[in-house]
Amino acid sequence: MTTVESAPAPSGPPRKRTSLSGGKGLSTVRRSVDPVVGVWLAALAVTILGWIVVAAQGGNFLTTSNAVAILQNCVALGLVAVGQSAVILTGSLDLSVAYLISLGTLVAAETMASGGVVTAVLAVLALSVAVGLVNGLIVTGLKVNAFIATLGMAFILRGWIEDNYTGPAGEVPVSFQRLGYDRIGPIPVSVFLLIAVAALMWLITRRTRLGHHMYATGGDEHAARLSGVRTGRTVVLAHVLCSLCVGAAALFLAARLAAGAPWAGTEARYDLESIAAVVLGGTALAGGRGGVAGTLGGVFVLAVLDSVFNQLSVDPFFKNVVRGVVIIAAVALYARPRRTPKPPKALPEGRTA
């Protein structure tokens, strides 16, 4: 946020007030917390609350096995959400991730059944790059709104899947299933995969020129272009990065399921869930603010909630109700401080009459 913080207020229509003020320099009591800190505090609060509730029911929440299960549950959604944050930061959106996951697991499992594991991994990543590239090019080249472009891509992938597969297909060798089930010490290997991908994405968004361009494009595409950023290229690259993360999620799920499944991505609604996690993590839906660290916090909150519900054996449908309430309430809490007028600190440099 440091680089974009000093940028002039986005000149786009001010209707999207999703974004959270960075909170620097606000001395009012109602100053908003840095969203990243906020979401991790929320995660902590949810954990403690869950611990108390479960303990009250006579269960034990903070066991090693449960903690490991929570981490394991983070992986798939976490990978998708990390990718999703890249596109959302850039001011775009990807609704095709769910079907890309499904297709990814199918391609992975089928290729592994006939060829080598390496070939399969490469095939999935190539598929991801292709889908991301097409998404990005449709958004930037044809100037189709990202919502429609990626929704259309989702339909295309769905048709492809339904035309070619009717059920689980392919087979994942035991050697590759280790990605889904092995542990290093108490921690599953897949968690390291998530950490690695997230760290890489963090480095890209925060430490490289591409990352700065992504923030600039998401903050105000027009201003970014006028400042010499190749916004089109940036958006395309963001889509490719997102799809690569989704490909990683597909590989993980293939390892986990030991086969490819047409419902791997759609049943868990990774498209909408990942967007919810990203926004829960404090990233502005309009782009330009937020980051990977917050997204991971959002994913963690959702995973902890899930675990608490499982421990209490809450009805799965009721779980959805609570989940919806939590998502809305959390975002409402973030959005709230924005109601106080921003102190006029941006005025002197921003608008010298």
């Binding site: 986005p10 100037k143 295309i156 035309d163 105000d220 919806g324 809305i328």
Partner: protein, 375 residues
Amino acid sequence: MSAPTDTGTPAKNVPAATPGKRVVRALGTGIPVYVLLVVLLLALLVTDPGFYEPDSFLSFVKRAAPLVILAAGQYLVIVCGEFDLSVGAIVTAGVVVAAELYGSFPDAHWLVVTAVLLVGGALAGLVSGLITTVLRVPSFITTLGMMLILEGAVFFWTGGSPQGVLPSAFRQLGRGTAFGWLPWAVVACLVAGTVAVLVTRSDFGRTLLATGDSDRAAALSGVRVIRVRTVAFILSGAAAALAAVLVGGFSGVSAQAGRGYEFEAITAVVLGGVVLGGGRGSVVAAMAGAFSLQALFTLLNLQGVSGALESTVQGVIVIAAVGLGAADWSRLRGRRTPSGSGPPGSTPTGAAPPGPTPPRPTPPTGTHPSGGTPS
């Protein structure tokens, strides 16, 4: 979605010189969708010469009715700059609630049940609207949460498998006919369409457009932005409930009744040239978009495209249609600002140095992002 990176925001003040241009202006952003609709209807005629027999054509309109009604409601929400992803869940919930109501009160009059559904839909819209406007949660998240809540609640209530039967009096609106030939669904569709057009022509409709264009400007000129947006959500919820009555009539009780309708409705509206992000577009074009989508489904069916590939073709055509719409417009208007990502007033003044160096041009109308609505 997010930032209105939409292209093809048509300039409002196109100088009306020739009659041709005036027609173009009257049709507004909808031209591509009317062309698409005509093409699809002609293709239907070629594929199935019997398509324009009154019976089969009316049944086509009947099948399109729920989507048209949903699109009209969705238009109101989109044009004021928001989203409503909860309409599909409202349709599902409506159908299931109707069945449950009949389970408890088998003798209830269908009008009562319909009214209850409409009020319930409006209530769901009211809640979404208030959360979006007062609590300032982005509508994408609000309505996504509302979708989770409604679906979860319905299935929780019914234990996962909604069942029950809808009496034929209730299903009459969905599958019955008036005077023996005119399906009630078509009547409902016409009424809803007329109401939608009247609403957009009214003062409220104009403030709705103004709000979507720039809520700050609208607020400064006296529009009660919160109220206007909330009313849009209420109307969308009620429209979804009406669609639920029709869908319940067609296909009876099912847990999948409304699945996917939210995206279809948004697709229809965008096909109609309405800009996601608000401020541009006409409701007639949005409803034409819904008809086009239904015509496309019918055509794919008749062409014998395997059910599976259907969604692929649909995806390609939707992307292509929206892409063509965007392209056509920038050519027609002589390419002013490429991709209007700024408000209409913020055309880049002064040739900004295209170099990558810092001189960061501040658009003249750098609106303050935190400017709330003055009450």
